[in-house]
């Protein structure tokens, strides 16, 4: 549970982790129904549309909206997003 929470970047409290163990066990019990299904030779389906990704020509289509976008940033300064020091 700790490993999964770390991969998901969630700081679960002890109470939340305990609740999560109980409920995830129920959910895994549900999804485990698939384990017995014979899927030999079945092509996995990632997506409803049988299509390939469209490509577009490499042209600039967006205008500069940095200020607009950074208005939602918890902390930004002079066009930069601020976070705690990463490199000592």
């Amino acid at each position: 549970m700790d490993h999964i929470a770390h991969l998901a970047r969630l700081a679960l409290s002890d109470a939340e982790a305990a609740d999560c163990v109980a409920k995830l066990s129920r959910i895994l019990g549900l999804v485990d129904q698939l384990q017995g299904v014979d899927t030999t030779g079945v092509e996995p389906m990632a997506h409803p549309l049988a299509m390939t990704q469209r490509l577009r020509s490499d042209e600039i289509t967006e205008s500069d909206q940095r200020e607009d976008y950074q208005r939602n940033a918890p902390r930004a300064d002079q066009g930069l997003y601020l976070v705690p020091r990463v490199i000592e």
Partner: protein, 493 residues
């Protein structure tokens, strides 16, 4: 004035018997009166709404505009709306003002539709009862002690209570059809790829699709004509022409075939819902349609398949909420890891965290093949069942939900009980085909929904069958009793 059908309002607007401003003011007044009880709205936008209504009236005065110009609606709060809070029902985005409009919002605004606000929803659309919303549960207009369903519960309650004639929604596993059924209105999910996902906050990208909650299939057809269509900004948008849905509504059903899968009548289906469904099939038979059995042998796999695929995609999509560029950030982070972990811990609610954990688990090293790959193969089997069925029938009919509306709090203790509520709607999303729920009677005082499913890009067929049913019945005209506006019962936290 009570909102009526879009078709009717459109005629009145064009004949200048009513103005968009009057309709919009009436909708806003009704929100003011009913929303303390229903909690259907997260944000109401009177200023923008009245400005849009004035512009619509000017267009109509010049003899311009479309069939939708001047009609008030509401948008689910999952759609980005420029300059307006777009919370997705989450604390994570409780401070997020969208910098642009979603494609669906843009298209409807261009058609002259007036948005009165943003509707409440399960957090990040993850829920079937509207109880996971950070803004509190929505109440069902038929019984305020009951859930309106979810995740588009606010849109459903607003339409059912006569606040607006229509609202947008999204449907990843039933989030339009299930709430529509539980509040006695029409809910339409088009084929995957029909409406652009641009600006629609992502939950599970291979399943998410925008649609509408309306009073009738005819109104759904009118809205779909404006909402649907190719958009290069969505890499999975379908590049195919949008048919004139409204023009195809009148085709007679004589000689056409409705498939009924015996798998839909399992032990979990409430006897009253089954009885209403059998009566609806009699109506179709009387209209000349032929009712035949079709097999969906892998239907029972759809819930476990969905609860692998959807959380897997959600865990990836929600990785973007990191407390750096937008959304909630924790106080005084000690390091970048601490910033990520505590911001996400504080910003997401319990169900969203559960789905992120489930998705992370099924995608993690050593489990990917057993869970995710196996689910993708099961998904192929379910989609193949539907494709095969549509070789011999025009539409498939079945229940939308196993029971009528359940009580708030009834299913919150066990997530699996809540997930099983989606049993009849999920296969449609896994296969990417269109589906509609229309009212087909009552179980006691609570509405029951009939689901009609069509082949991929067969929106017109589904809407045609639903419309013919609504010409022959009046369940879609039933209204909940006028609620006593009592703010003390409000759902807000």
């Amino acid at each position: 004035m009570e909102p009526d059908s879009i078709a009717g309002l459109s005629r009145a607007l064009r004949a200048r018997k009513v103005s968009s401003r009057e309709l919009t003011e009436a909708a806003l007044a009704r929100i003011g009166r009913l929303d303390p009880l229903l909690n259907a709205f997260i944000t109401v936008t009177p200023e923008q709404a009245l400005a849009a209504a004035t512009a619509a009236d000017a267009r109509l005065a010049r003899g311009e505009g479309t069939a939708l110009t001047g009609v008030p609606i509401a948008h689910k709060d999952i759609f980005c709306t420029r300059g307006i809070l777009t919370s997705c029902g989450s604390k994570m985005l409780a401070n997020f003002t969208a910098p642009y409009d979603a494609a669906v919002v843009e298209r409807l605004a261009a058609a002259g539709v007036v948005s009165v606000g943003k509707t409440n929803m399960d957090e990040f659309a993850m829920g079937s009862s509207n109880e996971t919303s950070y803004y509190g549960p929505v109440r069902n207009p038929w019984d305020p002690e009951r859930s309106p369903g979810g995740s588009s519960g606010g849109s459903a309650a607003a339409v059912a209570a006569g606040v607006v004639p229509a609202a947008t929604g999204t449907d990843t596993g039933g989030s339009i059809r299930q709430p529509a059924a539980l509040v006695g209105i029409t809910g339409f999910k088009p084929s995957y790829g029909r409406c652009s996902r641009y600006g629609m906050i992502a939950f599970a990208s291979s399943l998410d699709q925008a649609g509408v909650l309306t009073r009738s299939a005819e109104d759904a057809a009118l809205l779909m004509e404006a909402m649907a269509g190719f958009d290069p900004r969505d890499s999975t948008s379908a590049n195919r022409p949008v048919p004139a849905y409204a023009a195809a509504l009148d085709q007679p059903l004589r000689g056409r075939r409705i498939g009924v899968p015996p798998e839909f009548f399992d032990a979990g289906l409430d006897a009253r819902c089954e009885a209403r469904l059998r009566e609806a099939l009699q109506v179709f038979a009387a209209l000349g349609a032929e009712i035949v059995d079709v097999a969906l042998p892998h239907l029972a796999l759809s819930v476990p398949t969905y609860y692998i695929v959807a959380p897997a995609e959600a865990s990836s999509n929600l990785a973007r909420f990191d407390g750096v560029r937008f959304g909630h950030r924790c106080e005084a982070p000690g390091s970048i890891e601490d910033l990520y972990k505590r911001s996400r811990q504080e910003g997401f609610g319990a169900e969203v965290k559960r789905r992120i954990m489930t998705g992370t688990y099924v995608l993690s090293a050593g489990y990917y093949d057993a869970y995710y790959l196996q689910a993708q193969k099961a998904r192929a089997l379910i989609a193949a069942d539907l494709r095969r069925a549509f070789e011999s029938v025009d539409v498939i009919a079945g229940p939308t939900t196993p029971t009528p509306a359940f009580r708030l709090g009834e299913k919150t203790a066990d997530p699996v009980q809540m997930y099983l509520n989606d049993i009849y709607t999920i296969a449609v999303n896994l296969a990417g085909v269109p589906g509609i729920s229309v009212p087909c009677g009552f179980a006691g005082d609570l509405p029951v929904g009939l689901q009609l499913i069509g082949p991929a890009f067969g929106e017109g067929v589904v809407l045609n069958f639903a419309h013919q049913y609504q010409l022959a019945t009046d369940w879609h005209r039933r209204r909940p009793p006028e609620p006593a506006a009592n703010p003390a019962q409000g759902g807000r936290r």
